[in-house]
């Protein structure tokens, strides 16, 4: 291989070192030794009742969300595996779509559905002839939990149905012959057998809800604070950087432990979700079960999104496109310095930059993994996945603000952060198709007269094109929806769509609300389109994270 190609391969490692390891190390230094000497007083401050409360709430809300999600997903998974019924694959796709939507969109959607200015409250007010909204869910644990269930339903559903679909029913049949029936069959056989899947699903949902940021900060209305929110508040509102750093360290450590546990649990599970052949439901009891579950899923998953679209199109006088039209105007009294449509431009620009960088780096990283030891490279490139977006954003602020790496004013700062978040997904999309290329294909091309770069151009590139496409869409949609890191590093003038939605949602007034809804719908459509393409392209191949 020519030296230039070798250097190129090192590029992703350099990128990780500069924009991942360096910021994290900076946080470490700031947290442990802000003045250059090791100071433990700093860490002791974390043990104050306030911070301990935050930690306790973080764990409790994550546990509650996990338990609630699994309890609701279990019957749904059972019905989806057991019977095939009209709309089954649509419901499964819908649940996955919910999982990939940006947090601000989901928060906006629940706000549109059950918020004090939401569709449900409007209806109740009309029916009951009330003056004020009867449901006041903003700033309650309830709305946070419901939103978390919406988000993570797909995680539980996918893991549990995947596990069941790959299982034979021989053990159940044996238990039945031995006399087990009804709830005893569940209690003695089905649930114990399902344990590894339940544990893995629970671990993953716990991780996701433990690091929940957008949902808490938007729907919790600052009445609740998780570790993630606290890092943001300490750093941005109180400018207490050392405390934020200490909390980040706590967060990083806990995340690594949790990810490790999840990886262990995941290894015991079958990977692929096979669409099992299932019979139609028979008799009114089975149909009733199927209808109940599909009705529930439809309400949980579709109602918020429908409410969002409805809200974005309705004003005081019925249907209106006014909110969309207002996006291009800098309305007086708006919290923003620029018209919201600029944010759309910003987001698109950043998404294209992110896609370009993530594809190049992802392709190089995947090629590097093919040539060198994968045992330490693979976890290395997955690391950003185990680091919360807020921590990344915080690290950027701490590390990249002084020469030689002063990127505060660089238009590339946001795309770099997004690339970091997207890179694990891009590598995971490319690697399987790169692995599938047999070495003899490359050698054959070589013997037939293809120089090394021609081998790459003629053999590798066309054969990974499918993986590249999937990776590109991942990178694009992740960049469009990324919230935590962007909120940290975006300046008012270069705010992205999610940041603007967040700012608008936090303001009173129907104009702000309407614009937030309209922007969320734009984001919803972009991400749904990306999701549909990925599902189509991936159907032939595989690829899971």
């Amino acid at each position: 291989m020519v030296p230039l190609a070798r250097l190129l391969l090192l590029l992703p490692l350099l990128f990780l070192a500069l924009f991942y390891v360096w910021p994290l190390l900076s946080i470490l230094v700031l947290g442990l030794a802000p003045d250059g000497t090791l100071a433990t007083g700093q860490l002791r401050q974390l043990l104050s009742p306030w911070h301990l409360n935050t930690l306790a709430f973080t764990v409790v809300q994550a546990l509650l969300s996990t338990a609630l999600t699994i309890a609701l997903a279990l019957p749904a998974a059972w019905v989806c595996v057991r019977w095939s019924f009209p709309g089954r694959s649509l419901l499964l796709s819908l649940s996955t779509l919910a999982f990939v939507l940006p947090t601000v969109v989901v928060a906006a959607a629940f706000s549109a559905l059950i918020g004090s200015r939401g569709v449900v409250n409007d209806l109740l007010q009309q029916i009951l002839a009330l003056d004020t909204a009867p449901l006041r869910l903003e700033g309650t644990l309830a709305i946070i939990l419901i939103t978390h269930v919406f988000y993570n339903f797909a995680v539980a559903l996918r893991i549990i149905t995947g596990f069941w679909a790959n299982r034979s029913t021989v053990l159940e049949d044996a238990a039945r012959v031995l006399g087990a029936q009804g709830w005893r069959l569940w209690w003695e056989i089905r649930l114990p057998l399902l344990r590894p899947a339940l544990l893995a699903a629970a671990a993953l949902i716990f991780i996701f809800t433990f690091t929940s940021f957008g949902v808490i900060i938007i729907l919790g209305e600052l009445r609740f604070s998780t570790l993630e929110v606290e890092i943001y508040l300490q750093a941005v509102n109180l400018f207490n950087l050392p405390v934020a750093a200490g909390l980040s360290l706590l967060q990083i450590t806990l995340m690594l432990v949790l990810m490790l546990a999840y990886t262990r649990l995941r290894q015991r599970l079958p990977l692929a979700l096979r669409a099992a052949h299932a019979p139609r439901p028979q008799g009114w009891r089975q149909w009733a079960a199927v209808s109940a579950v599909s009705g529930f899923m439809l309400v949980l998953l579709a109602a918020p999104l429908l409410a969002l679209v409805l809200r974005s199109l309705s004003g005081a006088g019925g249907l209106t496109g006014a909110w969309y039209a207002a996006l291009s105007r800098d309305v007086r009294g708006s919290v923003l310095f620029v018209p919201p449509v600029h944010a759309v431009g910003n987001s698109l620009f950043y998404a294209f930059c992110t896609t370009g960088m993530a594809l190049v780096l992802g392709l190089l990283a995947a090629s590097l993994m093919q040539r060198r030891s994968r045992r330490w490279l693979d976890p290395l490139f997955m690391l950003p996945l185990a680091t919360s977006a807020v921590t990344l954003g915080f690290g950027f602020i701490v590390a990249l603000d002084e020469p030689p790496l002063d990127l505060r004013a660089s238009p590339l700062l946001i795309p770099i952060a997004h690339t970091l978040v997207a890179l694990p997904f891009v590598v995971r999309s490319i690697l399987p198709s790169l692995d599938a290329i047999s070495p003899s294909l490359r050698e054959s091309a070589s013997v037939l007269g293809a120089a090394p770069w021609q081998v790459w151009r003629q053999i590798d590139l066309p054969l990974v094109s499918r993986g590249l496409l999937v990776g590109a869409i991942f990178a694009f949609t992740i960049s469009m929806g990324e919230f935590g890191a962007s909120l940290f590093i975006a300046r008012p003038a270069n705010a992205t769509i999610p940041v603007v939605i967040y700012r608008l949602l936090g303001q009173p007034g129907t104009m702000n609300m309407g614009q937030a809804m309209a922007m969320s719908v734009i984001l919803l459509l972009t991400c749904s389109l990306g999701f549909i393409v990925i599902e189509r392209v991936q159907r032939a191949g595989s690829g899971a994270f």
Binding site: S438, S440, E443, S444, S446, V447, L448, G449, A451, Q458
Partner: protein, 330 residues
């Protein structure tokens, strides 16, 4: 045309090739024959330039190939799994080498190569839609199309079923002879080797044990490995033979070649006679295959149907060994 001089190759602790020297004439078909793991595939990869040698030289028409990269050697190599490019049609696969080397008459030479292997009308087909035999032909056409100075084939028929293999073997040889192609092929199957090659190099544990025409190999195996690998039986030592034949034989290893073994005294004074037991007989259509045990050794040989009737197994017999077929091995 091609000369290998004292080629050595080591992978970790294993000496894969140990001082291999070999010469191939222009237009000659040479087969590397040996058990799996003997280094034959590595040797092909070294000639192609896919692996580097530790020691030794490879010369093409007197020019050392050291430092010439794979894609500039103008060789052909057909892989065991054929390595057809899945994203190209049959025609695009065959044209690939011509395209990479910027050779003229692309379309014409592609269709020539395809008709040479009898796949003229299948150019537009997807390679994934081809049967094993068809894939083998496309791979062959792809290797032949750029007219390589040397064509190498790694187990070309290994992934095909026995019937197809038998049909394709003479066809392959005919194509090579017609085009005057210099060929090195690799196999572990001795029948395949004798059917296709002008000369066979028998390899074992990284060495070439013997390099000769198929006829010469069978008639005069040089050592115990070659004799056993070709199915000619194991050698006996001089002491054993002296005791059994009641006649002095000085030397370490003697092969009692199956071609010289008889039940009846057919050769008169030209044969020695050993006392043994017929332990097995199997009828094989054109002749019998007999196993006779003499003391602690067993000998297998063919017995013509026209010769005298074969006794029942368990009968004591006299085994005659024609003196000319008692071969002294290294």
């Amino acid at each position: 045309m091609l000369q290998l001089r004292h080629v050595c190759k080591r992978f970790g602790n294993t000496q894969v090739l140990n001082d291999v020297s070999l010469e191939v004439q222009a237009g000659e078909i040479v087969c590397l024959l040996g058990p799996s793991g003997c280094g034959k595939t590595t040797l092909l990869r070294i000639i192609a330039g896919l692996e580097a040698t530790d020691k030794g030289a490879i010369l093409l028409q007197g020019v050392d190939l050291e430092g010439v990269p794979v894609h500039e050697r103008n060789f052909g190599l057909m892989f065991q799994d054929y390595a057809l490019f899945p994203h190209m049609t049959v025609e695009q696969n065959v044209a690939f080498g011509l395209r990479m080397r910027r050779q003229d008459g692309l379309a014409q030479r592609t269709s020539e190569a395809l008709s040479l292997v009898g796949m003229k009308d299948m150019g537009q087909r997807d390679v994934s839609s081809l049967s094993g035999g068809e894939q083998q032909r496309v791979a062959l056409a792809r290797s032949l199309a750029p007219k390589p100075s040397l064509l190498m084939l790694d187990e070309p028929l290994a992934s095909l079923d026995a019937g197809l293999r038998e049909r394709l073997l003479p066809e392959l040889r005919q194509i090579f002879v017609e085009t005057g192609q210099t060929v090195i092929t690799v196999t572990h199957d001795q029948q395949e080797a004798s059917a296709i090659a002008d000369r066979i190099a028998i390899m074992n544990a990284g060495r070439i044990e013997q390099y000769d025409t198929p006829q010469a190999l069978y008639a005069r195996p040089r050592n115990a490995f070659v004799a056993e690998f070709l199915g000619l039986g194991s050698p006996v030592n001089g002491e054993w033979l002296t005791v059994q034949a009641e006649e002095t034989f000085k030397g370490e290893h003697f092969l009692l070649h199956p071609a010289g073994l008889r039940l009846a005294d057919a050769a008169g004074d030209d044969a020695i006679v050993l006392e043994g037991t017929l332990v097995e007989r199997s009828y094989q259509g054109e002749n019998w295959r007999l196993t006779v045990r003499v003391a602690d050794k067993a000998f297998r040989f063919r017995h013509s149907l026209e010769a005298e009737p074969v006794p029942e197994p368990g009968t004591n017999v006299w085994l005659h060994v024609v003196r000319d077929w008692i071969l002294r091995l290294e």
